[in-house]
Symmetry: C2
Subunit: 564 residues, 2 copies
């Protein structure tokens, strides 16, 4: 009986702790810098991996992330489970009706986005095998097919995460990209099954290629039609006759595991099964929001960071790295994928800007490519040199995709009032007892922060207040003004335990006073910040809880966590 030693168990817990902590930390930093969190999570893996920690402290690296023995198996098993569960969440959040609506466009994007890089990759490998890392003696057609597949497959998990991070996962564009990526990657895995057939190794499940393709299509069709219908009928019964929420959680998670096992057995990857199970379960309106959130949050902030941090662990940029090969493959991969997907989108009637967005959305490679690469390396189809290039490209395209989409689609994060509340602009207890004095108090600290004249700011806000009282009701007031030449919005908050009359519609005195200065040129800022403020304190107890905070950190903590 094989068992883990205490040393291996210690290593496992430590490795998971370090990966989770670093991935979350760099993810937060990445988000602060306006990038998708997944970029930081992947970078964390590179820093902890062969390139970073592996070079600086090889012994510690080998202890944390052993390449052989029990520890290696456990890490791989856990990251495989993590990615499947993350795809369950990605599936849960997909709206099946949007899939049907965007279906035709998605098929076009998948088709052209796959065909172009496939053709380019195949030609390159067939006509210049030596330049692309062909191992002399390997099956030449299989090699060309493999490179074509590796360059045309996308990275469903990374694409889903980037779209979520950018908050466009549920938009028409997001659904189109995800649906196209699913089709694309499914097709890629089926081609790979064919390659293994050519090599005579096969997947070990004894199925012929025809059966694999047929079963995959039939299963996908069932998971989008009959199964969701069935689940929708079963869920109320589970919620009625089992303990809450154990019954429904156990059902959803075991269904995802079964479905993952089935697609893995078919020879396509486990993630497709988990994703389809998510789509099928998420479609039911009987699945309560609360259950969805529990699954979503735990998986997104425990399993997902572990997986994304694991991607870069094994790459050593120093050895086997061939810059020229990498560059050539990078251009083929990106140009082929972006232009192909762009073309597919245009043919589906998507406007230019969105079509470019789709192109770069589809451009993230990686994960799938790396998994394929490992298998190809094992059967002796490709060289170490090509493998390293594939891994580097996987990372590079993943890092490129998010920022490019952000730029092309001009995505902005919704602005919250606390984004403009710097330290020193928070008064725990206002001294003022009337409106004019309170505005003066807040205007003074706001003016100091923005390097403006105190008098002028106070006057501008009071002038606005005379035209229209700014009590929003529910104990919140938002005196505000638009000023010329201001660099960006400035917010100052003061709490008044005794309350100050701001002539609110509900007649209640204001306890939370939020002074908002916005640039005259920025039309949207004022309304955006005001409506965020109003919706933050919409729930009755938020105002009471705010009055109980100890200082600005407590106030920020409350505002961020209260929106859930």
């Amino acid at each position: 009986m094989d068992t883990l030693s205490p040393r291996e168990i210690t290593g496992m817990f430590l490795a998971l702790g370090v990966m989770l902590f670093c991935a979350r930390l760099l993810g937060e930093i990445s988000r602060r810098a306006g990038q998708p969190a997944v970029i930081g999570e992947i970078l964390a893996g590179i820093l902890l991996g062969a390139t970073g920690l592996g070079t600086l402290a090889p012994d510690l690296f080998a202890f944390l992330f052993p390449a052989t023995g029990g520890g290696a198996y456990v890490l791989q098993g856990l990251t495989t489970l993590s990615i499947a569960l993350f795809l369950l969440v990605a599936g849960l959040e997909i709206d099946l009706s949007t899939v049907w609506r965007q279906g035709k466009t998605a098929v076009g994007v998948a088709l052209f986005g796959m065909a172009l890089p496939f053709a380019l990759g195949f030609s390159a490998a067939w006509f210049l095998p030596g330049s692309f890392g062909y191992e002399p003696g390997a099956h030449r057609l299989a090699f060309a097919l493999f490179l074509a597949t590796a360059l045309s497959i996308s990275a469903l998990p990374i694409i889903a995460k980037i779209l979520m991070d950018l908050r466009i996962y549920r938009s028409d564009l997001g659904v189109t990209v995800v649906a196209a990526a699913v089709l694309n990657d499914l097709a890629g895995w089926l081609v790979f099954a064919m390659i293994l057939g050519l090599l005579g190794t096969g997947h070990g499940n004894g199925l012929s290629l025809g059966v694999t393709v047929g079963a995959t299509l039939a299963f996908t069709a069932a998971m989008l039609t009959v199964i969701p219908w069935l689940i929708h009928r079963i869920l109320p019964w589970i919620q009625a006759y089992t303990s809450w929420p154990g019954g429904v959680l156990g059902f959803a998670l075991s269904l995802a595991l079964f479905s993952a096992a089935f697609t893995e057995w078919l020879g396509v990857h486990a993630i497709f099964g988990a994703f389809l199970a998510g789509v099928a379960i998420g479609h039911s309106s009987h699945l309560r929001e609360r259950t969805r959130t529990t699954i979503d949050q735990f998986i997104s902030f425990f399993f997902a960071p572990l997986f994304f941090a694991s991607i870069g662990l094994r790459i050593d940029f120093a050895s086997h790295f061939d810059p020229l090969l990498t560059l050539m493959i990078f251009f083929i991969a990106v140009i082929g994928k972006v232009l192909g997907s762009l073309l597919g989108g245009r043919l589906g009637g998507v406007p230019w800007r969105e079509a470019w967005g789709i192109g770069f959305g589809m451009s993230a490679q990686g994960t799938m490519g790396i998994i394929l690469g490992v298998l190809a390396l094992q059967v002796g189809l490709i060289s170490q040199r090509l493998f390293v290039s594939l891994v580097v490209i996987a990372l590079a395209t993943s890092l490129l995709s998010g920022p490019m989409m952000q730029r092309i689609l001009r995505l902005k994060r919704p602005r919250r009032f606390i984004d403009f509340l710097d330290s020193g602009r928070f008064i725990r207890s206002l001294a003022a007892t009337n409106r004019t004095a309170a505005i003066g108090e807040l205007a003074a600290i706001a003016a100091d922060g923005a390097r403006l004249d105190r008098e002028k700011v106070t006057e501008a806000v009071l002038a606005r207040e005379r035209i229209m009282a700014t009590g929003l009701g529910n104990g919140v007031a938002a005196p505000h003004a638009r000023l010329p030449g201001l660099g960006g919005p400035v917010v100052a908050v003061g709490l008044s335990p005794s309350g100050i009359d701001f002539d609110a519609p509900d007649g209640k005195p204001a306890h939370i006073l939020c002074l908002i200065l916005t640039p005259r040129e920025d039309d949207g800022a004022q309304l955006e910040i005001l409506s965020d403020l109003a919706s933050t304190f919409y729930k009755g107890t938020m105002v009471e809880q705010a009055l109980a905070v100890e200082g600005m950190t407590g106030f920020l903590a409350l505002v961020r966590s209260g929106r859930d």
Copy 2:
């Protein structure tokens, strides 16, 4: 580089799916039968394990739960992670102030509950080594110490789960038992470290026994004092400056993993670190209820069932089973543990009934004993025969503990009105438009269900209604009556979309009519059911949602899931 084959990955997903599904299913059945859910979860493992599936379909069993190779490591790693995370939840739910209050009693219980079985076990093994599975040639003192430890160690994870299932985890008695189990098991692991020292094998961390003991005590003390204080100060900062809830989830989980790694390295088990991390984090009032629930639910219904189902997987009752040895050890273990803990409790001033409850609460062995047994088997200290006996006893005591506590402490599940709502006693849309007619409609179906006379039931409920109107307000009415000779409570529910006046305090018409018949002899039933009804529909939208259900299943699903 060691990697999992597609076959092993398929097996992993399938094994996890089967374990989760069966554990949850048997857990539900167990709960329905009035037993703690954990009993069903453990039984699921026995059915899926060597005794059940392993005998019926050895090939499938070997595929799902391989004993060697990558699959074996992955399963062990995952169940080890599962148990540590479950202990994190157990720690989160502990109230540190109750620990301090119950501390003295807990120390007494731990001391005597450990000393008596230890003394009995040591004597038995020392004076009759042959009868107790002594392997000739093994270190005799080490053997005696090992048997004494194995019989005096308790099963912290199982004890925590049973107390949770019985809903007494947070009571004074529950906290006493858990705190005593923690002390008991910590001491047990330290003794085991000593035994390994005697054998000259050691734990492999190069620490002397003194350092291990000292570091364990210092770490425990820090996690109960300084660390909670520190976490309480850090949490608001995390919630203020990181994304919600990713920041706080990542923090809590990585802290638990680090802490688990540290205690595992010390040579005591990882679960202690995870538990102490839970206590330290859970102590902070800044940890929001929402975060607590997310961690709690996901771990309790995903990781915990996997762990509990894994306990019985490897035992084969057929081979190496020695009934006499098992019986002898069982008596020593149970009598020693129950009487010792009872004595400790009595000396701490606990009344007789509660002291017996504590005794049986502490009596669950297993998990820790099995882990110790595996290690002892590996170093050649004990025979297969003794190992199997230890495992059987672990299971038997775990199955005994819950039901015994339930009986001794006379625990009852809180009764909910839906527990007495059988099919056929639900009217989707009442025909009646006034109070008397509505009561007649509901009384008729209630009487049929309870085999009573329709006239008499209607008359009894109307008589009660004349004395006092039963509109509870908020759209709910609860006409009721106490009847002589009724076997148990009977409930019938009718919905009235148009509303019927029941003279409610808030003047609103009733849309949900719940007729309640209780036995005249059962004083508590009526009040219990009435207050459950009122609190269920206390939230404004529950009544609206109830009016939208399609039938009784939908109504039950809503009531069960709406309480969250």
